[in-house]
Symmetry: C2
Subunit: 232 residues, 2 copies
DNA sequence: TGCCGTGATCTGTGATCACAGTTAGAGTTG
DNA sequence: CAACTCTAACTGTGATCACAGATCACGGCA
């Protein structure tokens, strides 16, 4: 194998399949709440929008169905699941346990670069939400960035993957609601939680980090539940 | 809607798609370790064996790939992932945290029928593993039954689903190894752990239940790691 | 003898077609 | 005017075909 030296620099170009790209697009729609619970999704319509045949969409949807981020009803219709209050409570409980655990691990295993990205993410989100004209979709995105900066600091790819799947389920409920009630952002509860989490992780205080994340999740969930818009 | 009364009894027959059945079959192969890490799986070959076209297999495989229970290599080959020692340690750590948590919740929320199925599952596995001629595949199955009897008692469908996904990843490593080393079963460490877990759950001692499950998982994982057969 | 090009055969991916079941709406009937 | 019926369009599922890329064995060249 004596190659021209220049070839040692080329990285293998990422051959992302259309199915993967379709998955990424749909997952983003769900996680950011642009697909509402109960909303139906036609394979062919989605394929038209994405400019591909239905095959890549089928693959993407079957993945999301496996994650229970979408469901196909007995009548053969794909839609975003409608969570009952009980299911939403279960989801919230599990999120508090697992994301709280991840935050605790982050406090124990973070390195300097983790602290940096967490601090940057927190700062970016605070700036956006304290802005005179907050951009809601951007705030949602920044919130996600902050949370995953924390979870990434646990250095457990499997844990992060599990949490991503949880967000896929919670996204439609949480973020759809946030869009309908932007005033909640201004109250700044999330901002305070985030600041607390950042400090706890920087100080290596696992229990405090866990509590901070738990409070953040719980407060958003309580707000949703209090509005009572969930399916029976 | 005036139906003959008899029709009120018929349950909607489960219109299980071929894709779902293919998924169930493949998932079972993985969880019980009959598919070895690194082993390749051809869509067309699998379709032939299952007696269907490749379409249902494609759906099943794309789900399993989404769960990271299978992977498709850059060379377009589907195979069971080869875990590095580090990845396996990560998986084990996460399993201890999450399955331990589930056991703790089970101790707090179990009802009488949960205790019954846990006791039955424990008894069945002990009988099998203390038998003069233990049936290994059956022991693997009974071990799974016991663990999920415990996790079901937490009454959190989402948690159970997450754990099922973890077993999909761990199954090939753990159970393949168990098949190669049946003498480990005879040592009865798992049996002792299970008895402890059952008692802890019956007594409502969450911490003890967590520790019991953790010990069970850790001991199996340590054994695997000590044999050093994992990929670099 | 050792190496490299070459082609047959395999891989997963994507498109297209066929089908049964559902849904929505127009048309008809009471 | 309401309720029912029927049809036309649409649903996901499955099969089949087409294709680019990878693998591997065979054969020719050095």
């Amino acid at each position: 194998m004596n190659l021209p030296a220049a070839l040692n620099l080329v990285e293998p170009l990422d051959r992302q399949t259309l199915g993967e790209r379709a998955y990424a697009r749909l997952a983003d729609l769900l996680i950011s709440g642009r697909l509402a619970p109960g909303e139906r999704l036609s394979l062919r319509a989605a394929a038209d929008v994405l400019g591909v045949s239905i095959m890549p969409v089928r693959e993407a949807v079957s993945r999301l169905v496996a994650d229970k981020a979408l469901e196909v009803t007995p009548n053969r219709a794909v839609r975003v699941p409608l969570l009952s209050a009980e299911q939403f409570r279960d989801l919230t409980t599990v999120r508090i346990a697992i994301e709280g655990h991840a935050a605790e691990q982050a406090a124990l295993h973070r390195d300097e670069s983790d602290l940096l990205s967490i601090a940057r993410a927190e700062e970016a989100m605070r700036a956006e939400s304290e802005s005179a004209t907050p951009d809601l979709p951007r705030a949602v995105e920044l919130n996600k960035t902050f949370h995953f900066a924390v979870y990434d600091a646990a250095h457990s790819p499997i844990l992060v993957e599990i949490i991503r799947a949880l967000w896929l389920k919670a996204g439609p409920v949480i973020n759809l609601d946030l869009r309908a009630n932007p005033e909640r952002l201004a109250k700044g509860h999330a901002i305070k939680c985030h600041a607390g989490v950042r400090k706890a992780i920087a100080a290596g205080k696992g229990a405090a980090a866990r509590e901070g994340i738990a409070a953040d999740i719980r407060s958003a969930a309580d707000f949703i539940l209090s509005r009572g818009g969930l399916a029976g």
